[in-house]
Point group: C2
Chain length 483, copies 2
Amino acid sequence: VEVKKMSVPSSPLFTDLYQLTMMQAYKKSGMNRCGACFDLFFRENPFNGGYTVFAGLLEAVQFLQGLRFSEEDIAYLKTLGLFQDDFLKYLETFKFTGEIYSVREGSIVFPLEPLLRVQGPLDECQLVETALLNTINFQSLIATKSARICHEAGEDNVIEFGLRRAQGHDGGLTASRAAYIGGCVATSNVEAGKVYGIPVRGTHAHSWVMAFPDELTAFRNFVKVYPKNSVLLVDTYDTLKSGVPNAVKVGLEMKECGEKLAGIRLDSGDLAYLSIESRKILDEAGLNDTKIICSSDLDEYIIHDLKIQGARADMYGVGTNLVSSKGDSALSGVYKLSAIHYENSPWEMKIKKTEGLKKSTLPGTKQVWRLKNKNNEMIADWVELDTENPDFSKGVLGYHPVLEYEKKYYHEITSAEPMLECVFKEGKIQTEFPKLTEIRDYLKAQFKTLHPTMRRLLNPHIYKVSLGPRLHEETHRLRTSNV
Amino acid sequence: VEVKKMSVPSSPLFTDLYQLTMMQAYKKSGMNRCGACFDLFFRENPFNGGYTVFAGLLEAVQFLQGLRFSEEDIAYLKTLGLFQDDFLKYLETFKFTGEIYSVREGSIVFPLEPLLRVQGPLDECQLVETALLNTINFQSLIATKSARICHEAGEDNVIEFGLRRAQGHDGGLTASRAAYIGGCVATSNVEAGKVYGIPVRGTHAHSWVMAFPDELTAFRNFVKVYPKNSVLLVDTYDTLKSGVPNAVKVGLEMKECGEKLAGIRLDSGDLAYLSIESRKILDEAGLNDTKIICSSDLDEYIIHDLKIQGARADMYGVGTNLVSSKGDSALSGVYKLSAIHYENSPWEMKIKKTEGLKKSTLPGTKQVWRLKNKNNEMIADWVELDTENPDFSKGVLGYHPVLEYEKKYYHEITSAEPMLECVFKEGKIQTEFPKLTEIRDYLKAQFKTLHPTMRRLLNPHIYKVSLGPRLHEETHRLRTSNV
């Protein structure tokens, strides 16, 4: 019951204009069918964090599989006066025929390593840049934010409530998907339930209470309809003086009928204080099973703080700051050419050099190896040209990707897993895509292998991404050459 | 050639679960056909700014017009085990029959005043909350950000380049629309060109340069295909040592053939310094007409600063920070019940009280009047119950919406324009919707009537939103009553 419809339509106009003008110019220059390799990667973890969660792959490859120019698309492009007839004709039968190598969705990933390697004819790889970046940047960002929030919530569940503050209809839909991958247990977004099979949950709004003559009548009417799963919102008039006492009244009435008030929701005010006081009132009335759900502009920092203060929340509803990614509203993933080959020639490696080393890129067609020790702990990610066959049993040398003089010897490597796998080839998705719950579980399992210091909110430990000797050598050669 | 397709699909599942559970519970409580009035408003201008631009109305009413539950939607809801058959049956023929009163799209708006008044059967108004908020929150946020950026750019044009960092496919599409309303002259997003008729523009990527054996060859090949509108990206290897000199070479070659190099683009490094130096080099070569376009993580603050430093940019490309709204990633618009009437009874006013006055709401069905003086300058917005017929010729009394003891007399009012107009009624959009360019021009014209101190980035002047005497009275009565 996973994906019932595509959320990303495969419109090739879901791109920047320059991709199309470059495509035409590649064609005019006889370059369009050159083989190209592009890397999709990012330079910094968002939120000053210690890791990033990779998400959005399913939508990305679905987009590639369905990519066709409609007559209407071509008619529109013609109106721009930029494209010649032979090029527009060429677009009529255009398909993406390249190959995608990708890390698994739900992987923990780090700066500078390629997450996606796109290989194929230069013009095809160029066209799809925008859609791939859009999809993966956004979902990875939200999955990361969700993982951060859920980590701070610890054993308590987090529900994603963000649709009203999300960026458009499918912005909301894919945010719900990514939030679920990151660890949320449910969403309020009904369409995300239908499309992705994510559990949906909800309470009620202030308007429910305001629509009735008084709060108690409103509560009674609600639980009558949902005797098994009512969560009453208690802050419409006065949380401790009116909302909680009325909820208790209703909870006791339910108890008498053998029912149970599932929970109350606190949505404003001092949540630490109010949750502690509400818990006392509920417990004193014998409603020990009634849970407390907190919402109201929560994020990982506030939840961290609520925990420290001993807040008695059992569950958190997080909306705005999750789906709009407060703190870092974009993951700055980029897509850079790393190698090219002209007809029948071997791959030629390429880098971008300007702005000093900070913004430069890594050349060649690469593989990322995740190194682990005998305790199944992640030691480092080791990036090397994919033409190499490294022997990890004797340890490997790793170079800092920017500070070339820094190197490190990795030994006692018990496992070295190649992270990039072919997921798209000859116009088709290559793997059976895991279910969303499997992606979520995969992420959870990986977190167990990541040292907890990497998950700190403040000054997290920096996980190492190192270059293998051959990649280091080629990078150095190109950095110091005169292009 | 305005809207060729809807970007917001009219799925009623584009909602939070609790709207549907409340709908069913309203029905069970005999309340669903009560008349309700909801206000959509926000409490603070984003970015600590002095104003907000209202956008997203077209998508919002298109959504309402098309709203129907499909068989598939109902089948999905049935699987949740929350809804009874009679309610699911009721959804089969559900339509939104309410009325929408709204300020014009492209209006400058302010905190606490209703932007949208939704009136109709309680359950219908409840269902549409999420979609209305999503659409209007997001587009208003981006239109505001765009207006801020374009204001700092002054006479220089701003192009929106954000699709790769936007939040999904339609997040990007509607961001382009809102950015255009806010003042951008064009977008890189091709689909936004097709769907909304927004001018599309672009340069080329680093990959273009890297795909060729050297930069000069790459530039020559590009201008050959686009002799009239080539903008060369000069920072792939070294801006001043390689990129600009190569662009000059090509520019001079073009000049010899009677052509003109349209521009160069600076995409990294110290843009103030590089633009000044590049301008010198271009001018010394006689390429005075070749423009300089700056990009690279720009926002309103950086552009403000570039201007102060005398940067020689002619145009700005702004992406990430515009479409993902750096600084405030969400506009916190809310949707609150303000009045209700049971069968054949008069309207009963409602407020939410908790959290002190800061988060309370304003009761009743209201109108917003924009007051101007004889110089056509905006004086204040004056909110009053819509049953009143104020006589502005003698001046009116206005009360602070929160600090009840603060009042002010507005006199010499030359014009008082009612801002909320009926835009949707009896299932249909009521007005001929303005073209996107008209919405954009309307905003521009309004900015001429707004004192420039409201557009300051730091500590802007606060525009006054006041309550009329009747609304003040009712608000005070409900705030001090025991609900």
